[in-house]
């Protein structure tokens, strides 16, 4: 009975949120772009023939400009850049989402534990968080991606390992704010346990803002992945946009002025990051009414 009411209330709240989000034109625009890109990524195996990714079957000439059946020209081994771009989106988005999920998971747990339990737990965790926060993230990611067995999984872990402290601190301060409200004290007084307070009160209050904040992390993760690839720490089995750029730069596409090879992956990263950014800002504006247009 009560849970039904709670659900109805939550659904209504979500509906309101969506209405407000829709009024944010930038956010909506970003969401549409993201939807299109995710759809293309998911449909890549259906609408294209993956055998074109195998260099031994490549039909085009080396680094040919657009035309001749290749909408975006070819890479140095004669593969279609458009095909690489489509398939690259799958890897890049996977890295972005997986790293973010991991980062939000770690960050939320650490953040809530810090704020909720306080005392020495907080002191210790705070130092650890600080350690990861002050380490140059690129160094840590670079070191980790060499330590772990090479592969896309290690890259995801490396990115998440450097991104979680920001989330943890955000969650911590939000939790502190929530837990200082009177209704939590009432809840304690009524004999609620840790799990109840965290699960029923803290999480629902904190998560939306964390969500808004982490849309940005997806974009950042994609950028970090491409930077790791640029530094030669990527995974050549997973042809992400970053790997594409890495290859383009390595063969000297800049000198060859092969814009059709250099621009698409970079622009694609930019567009996706920007789209996430717009969504995130819109969400934040919805959740943080002070920023909303009055």
């Amino acid at each position: 009975m009560t849970s039904a009411i709670v659900w109805r209330r939550r659904r209504a709240a979500a509906g309101r949120l969506w209405d407000q989000f829709r009024s944010q034109r930038g956010g909506l625009f970003g969401l549409v772009i993201l939807a299109v890109i995710v759809l293309l990524a998911l449909l890549a195996p259906v609408i294209t023939d993956p055998s074109g990714l195998d260099v031994t079957h490549a039909t085009g000439g080396a680094l040919k400009p657009p035309g001749d059946g290749f909408l975006l020209g070819t890479d140095e081994t004669g593969r279609s850049v458009l095909l690489l771009l489509l398939w690259g989106s799958r890897v890049s988005l996977l890295v972005g989402f997986a790293a973010t999920l991991l980062c939000v998971g770690i960050g939320t747990i650490v953040g809530i534990v810090m704020a909720h339990f306080g005392g020495w737990v907080q002191a210790v965790l705070m130092r650890v968080t600080d350690f990861f926060l002050v380490l140059p993230s690129l160094v840590l990611a670079a070191v980790l991606s060499t330590v772990l067995t090479p592969g896309i999984g290690s890259i995801i872990i490396a990115i998440a390992a450097t991104a979680w402290p920001t989330t943890a601190r955000l969650v911590r301060s939000q939790t502190l704010a929530v837990e200082s409200r009177p209704y939590i004290e009432r809840s304690w007084a009524l004999g609620a346990g840790h799990w109840h307070v965290i699960g029923k009160h803290v999480l629902p209050a904190v998560l939306p803002l964390v969500f808004a904040n982490t849309t940005l992390t997806v974009g950042q993760s994609i950028i970090t992945e491409s930077t790791l690839a640029f530094l030669g720490l990527g995974d050549p089995n997973s042809a992400s946009w970053g790997e594409m750029l890495h290859n383009a730069l390595q063969v000297g596409a800049v000198t060859a002025r092969a814009w059709w090879y250099l621009l698409p992956p970079g622009l694609a990263i930019g567009v996706v990051v920007l789209a996430f950014m717009m969504c995130g800002r819109a969400l934040e504006a919805v959740l943080n009414p002070r920023l909303r247009e009055r």
Binding site: V55, H57, T77, L233, G234, P236, N237, V254, T255, A256
Partner: protein, 595 residues
């Protein structure tokens, strides 16, 4: 309003005053400078500890060697020694040092300096860091007088005319207490080569001045500079801008793109490097302890044969190397023609995917459900192919190899690692296949020594060979050629060794990449190539590229003018813009106050 005009006047006057000395400096006679854009590591100028390729190249122009390699064809040529003789038991070598040579500080160069250098390397472990391998079999090195050096070896050694050791001045280095900590940057650094080091700025540039005391030909210009780029495309842009005159290490794409650029001439040289695919099938330490985690299926020579048959070196050369390489066969690169071996029709393991599949079929490796063959225990055969993520064409090569092996039913996972991780995996035997490469010397000994049992890494991975070759036949041939001083017989031994190696499919040689360079032909007319026909300007086994560079007669040698002018313009724009902005704000602010 008045304030603003005054401000602009002051700024303009300032710019005029400040730029005067710059313009003036351009008027004075400029030294002719050869600027080389380089991308490799230049870590130290101490010849005893300099092991990076770039460092040794600078070492070659700073210091003369006992003997050198001819520009024509790498044959042994005089260096500090103008003649030499060997005893009949081939154990005692006597070198005659030419007379009248001087160090760049005016002191005479004598046999004592040579003996001191060798003895230092033989007695001081740190001094042996870079070149210790040359002296391991030396018994004694003495200088009975100022013009003779006598080297006694414990066993006959075929490399006595290929001792790539910079000879240093005893009167400078005998005062150095700890060779490992000495940076050798007391300018001008006392040397004996065609150029004298006058500045080394780590990670930025190296400046050398022509050495008037050099015993040989004098360079036709005043100064040689190496400028460090971390990004090859930036180096090419620097060449186009005229910031540098020569750029080496171009990728095939860059080479093709520069071919039709005005004022720039490209140079394609046959390279002294071989790139190969290592197949890890017998990883054992130098004490015969098995190491590593290679797929045991590789122990089957049929599987290795099938791999060799699945690799089309011609397509790799065309696609992964942009056609700018020679297809590989023997271990010794084709440019060292005397020692190079290639298979005849009966020995050749031709690229033929059908034949490769048949080889595997005959050996009993059946395809599983997903098209991947199963090994004898029924597991799908998947091999790790380790590559260096920093080497441009390795990824492309790996993708082709993966494609072909996939077609014959062998799965491949590519692992791109940083170069240190590649080395680590290599010397611990933790790979199945690995793309590797070695730069050869005019004397084949160094390349061949990689293939003997004694040079396998120890249990900790110490040692620097990564293919774990150990074969009695190869060991015997290696020993034979090392002590063989009859050239024709040694050539036969060397070729037999390569044939045996080829038949084992342990190192499948893919290509001998060309050395691709470009230079400003509006400033430089010619360079001393080595070998003289189709050779390279940089990365020689000599210094002819720099020594014999001829500037174009009426060339405007300076390159910095435009740069400085643009720099001035930028400053002016920023200062003017900033000044105008501030002034306009002040004006507005004061207007507000008045309200």
């Amino acid at each position: 309003m008045r304030i603003r005009r005054l401000g602009i006047g002051v700024i303009a006057m300032g710019v005029a005053i400040l730029s005067a000395p710059v313009v003036h400096a351009q008027d004075t006679a400029q030294p002719k400078i050869l600027r080389v854009g380089v991308t490799g590591t230049y870590a130290t100028m101490n010849p005893f500890t300099a092991y990076h390729l770039g460092d040794t190249e600078v070492g070659r122009v700073m210091y003369a060697f006992l003997t050198s390699y001819s520009q024509q064809d790498y044959s042994p040529a005089p260096g500090l020694a103008d003649k030499w003789q060997v005893s009949s038991d081939k154990l005692t070598w006597t070198y005659h040092i030419r007379s009248g040579m001087k160090w760049s500080d005016g002191q005479p160069i004598t046999a004592k300096d040579v003996a001191w250098t060798f003895n230092k390397i033989m007695t001081d472990k740190t001094a042996a860091t870079a070149n210790g391998n040359f002296v391991t079999d030396f018994d004694t090195v003495t200088a009975p007088d100022d013009s003779d050096v006598v080297i006694k070896t414990k066993a006959p050694q075929a490399t006595m005319l290929a001792l790539d050791i910079p000879i240093v001045p005893e009167h400078v280095w005998s005062k150095v207490t700890d060779v490992g900590k000495y940076d050798n940057l007391q300018y001008p650094v006392v040397g004996s080569g065609p150029f004298t080091l006058t500045n080394f700025t780590q990670g930025q540039s190296i400046t050398l001045k022509a050495n008037p005391d050099y015993y040989g030909d004098k360079p036709a210009y005043d100064q040689l500079e190496f400028r460090h780029y971390d990004n090859e495309d930036a180096a090419v842009q620097g060449l186009k801008n005229g910031d540098v005159d020569v750029v080496s290490g171009l990728t095939p794409t860059q080479y093709a793109a520069l071919q039709n650029t005005p004022n720039i001439t490209v140079n394609k040289a046959r390279g002294g490097r071989q790139n190969d695919l290592l197949v890890n099938y017998q990883a054992q330490t130098n004490t015969n302890q098995p190491v590593g985690d290679a797929n045991p299926v590789l122990k089957d020579p049929k599987v290795r044969l099938a791999i060799a048959q699945s690799i089309d070196v011609k397509t790799l050369v065309d696609k992964a190397y942009g056609g700018l390489a020679e297809p590989g066969s023997g271990m010794v690169p084709a440019v060292f023609g005397t020692w190079h071996w290639s298979p005849d029709a009966s020995q050749e393991q031709k690229f033929d995917l059908t034949a490769a599949a048949k080889t595997l079929d005959d050996a009993g490796y059946q395809k599983g459900a997903d098209g991947v063959r199963l090994d004898k225990s029924g597991k799908p055969i998947t091999l790790r192919l380790v590559i260096d993520s920093g080497v441009p064409n390795e990824n492309a090569s790996a993708q082709f190899i993966k494609g072909w092996l996939g077609q014959v039913g062998i799965g491949v996972t590519v692992q791109a690692l940083s170069s240190d991780a590649v080395t680590d995996a290599g010397s611990k035997g933790q790979y199945d296949l690995q793309l590797n490469g070695w730069t050869g010397n005019p004397d084949p000994d160094a390349l061949l020594s990689i293939q003997i049992c004694a040079n396998r890494p120890d249990a900790d991975g110490n040692g620097n060979t990564e293919n774990f070759m150990c074969d009695p036949q190869i060991d015997a041939l290696y020993k034979q050629q090392l002590s063989e001083t009859d050239q024709a017989k040694r050539v036969k031994d060397v070729k037999d060794l390569q044939a045996r190696l080829y038949s084992l499919d342990s190192s499948i040689v893919i290509a001998y990449p060309n050395v691709l360079e470009a230079y400003r032909s509006d400033r430089w007319a010619s360079f001393g190539l080595q070998p003289a026909q189709g050779g390279s300007i940089t990365h020689q086994n000599g210094y002819y590229g720099y020594l014999l560079a001829k500037p174009v007669d009426s060339a405007a040698a300076g390159g910095g003018n435009t740069g400085l002018i643009v720099g001035i313009v930028v400053v002016v724009v920023i200062v003017l813009g900033g000044g105008a902005f501030l002034l306009s704000r002040r004006r507005r602010a004061s207007a507000d106050e008045r309200e």
